[in-house]
């Protein structure tokens, strides 16, 4: 009975809100370049959803990893843990990058725009390098382990 309840809870959690968070994790990198391009072309800051995106994803992912019945999701989809780990960090980096650009574009100054664009690029490069280094030192999957 307990197992059935746990599985049902995990299934419901996977449908909502976990699938929403997975979509956010997938679409953030895909939308990144178009978001940057939209801000650069318009000359105005875009909507600042960074904190709410990170907050929502953090809560949902955190609960799925900490609540034992919800952890079943990662047993059913063995690739999900590695995916969440990598894409969550990537999403945080890209969202912070967008908010850096947004801060720059809150004022209509070309010098400020260029400066913050460079800052954003540097942040993304350093963030991704740091992320690569971390996962090089601490691989998501141990040697011989399958996703």
């Amino acid at each position: 009975m307990r197992k059935i309840l746990g599985s049902t809870l995990a299934f419901v959690y996977l449908i909502f809100p976990m699938s929403l968070v997975l979509l956010i994790l997938i679409f953030t990198p895909l939308m990144f370049f178009s978001d940057v391009s939209a801000i650069r072309t318009s000359g105005f800051a875009g909507p600042n959803t960074t904190l709410s995106m990170i907050g929502l994803s953090g809560f949902v992912i955190g609960l799925s990893l900490l609540v034992p019945p919800l952890r079943r999701i990662y047993g059913v989809f063995p690739w999900l843990y590695a995916f969440v780990k990598i894409f969550f960090v990537g999403m945080i980096i890209l969202n912070i990058a967008i908010s850096i650009l947004n801060v720059g574009y809150q004022t209509g100054s070309d010098t400020r725009h260029t400066l913050f664009f460079i800052l954003m690029v540097v942040f993304v490069v350093l963030g991704r390098l740091g992320m690569s280094f971390y996962f090089y030192r601490n691989p998501v999957l141990e040697e011989g382990e399958e996703a």
Binding site: I54, G55, G58, L65, P68, Y74, Y81, F88, Q106
Partner: protein, 233 residues
């Protein structure tokens, strides 16, 4: 009778095998110093039936009957705590400006002018066009300059304005937010607020003048001005 005995023996053998397996599992778990699992128990019920119990729910059997344990479980928990901490921090820093619904706030919205509303107060959840107004402000201040604060009293939706003195910009255009932006302006002359970009629902902004302690709630049409004529008594 014989068949019953055979059946009983088979069941006992099966139970023994499963107990042996459970013992091996326990030995494995003890060897794992960092292993946080150790909660799968095997109990023998009536008639030699093996009952697997999932006790403290730390190690979770998945549908394949495998269990997250050791380093992997530890890593999952660590990432879980980290994700929650990041989530809490993000929520903490999210702008949660509350809408002022007091009587003075309602009066301010109705009159578009208020002496009791301080800079940065939010009056509306969504933008609402109150209509563009020009004002002549007569004051008795002896100072040559005065501070003004400009902020968005409705939704922070990406409205941009620019402050001009007698037609000359004193700043770049900027996005109005709930957090007021401060400027120094001459205490006589014409202060203009130009609507640069409408983020949706009209460019709603408020401006507070330090010299008379009055806030003005206004809407600037895109590309046009609201003029505040400052006159000394």
């Amino acid at each position: 009778m014989r068949e019953n005995q055979k059946d009983l023996r088979k069941r006992i053998e099966r139970a023994k095998e499963k107990s042996k397996h459970a013992a091996q599992m326990n030995a494995y778990e003890e060897n794992q110093a960092e292993d946080e699992l150790g909660n799968d128990e095997v109990q023998q019920g009536n008639g030699g039936q093996i009952l697997e119990q999932w006790k403290a729910q730390d190690g979770v059997p998945n549908d394949k009957g495998q269990v997250f344990h050791g380093k992997k479980l530890k890593g999952m928990k660590r990432l879980g705590y980290l994700a929650i901490a990041i989530g809490v921090m993000a929520m903490f820093f999210t702008d949660t400006a509350t809408v002022d619904t007091s009587e003075s706030a309602k009066n301010a919205l109705e009159n578009q002018v208020s002496t009791s509303i301080s800079a940065g107060v939010v009056l509306l959840q969504e933008d609402e066009n109150l209509g563009a107004q020009d004002y002549t402000i007569t004051h008795s201040s002896d100072a040559d300059e005065t501070k003004i604060w400009v902020w968005d009293y409705a939704a922070e939706d990406g409205d941009y304005v620019q402050v001009l003195i007698d037609g000359t910009p004193i700043s770049e255009s900027f996005m109005i937010q709930h957090q007021p932006k401060e400027f120094m302006v001459p205490s006589t002359g014409s202060v203009q607020i130009k609507g640069i970009r409408d983020g949706g629902g009209g460019i709603t902004y408020a401006v507070r003048y330090d010299m008379n302690g009055t806030s003005y709630f206004n809407t600037a049409p895109e590309g046009e001005f609201n003029t505040y004529e400052l006159v000394k008594e």
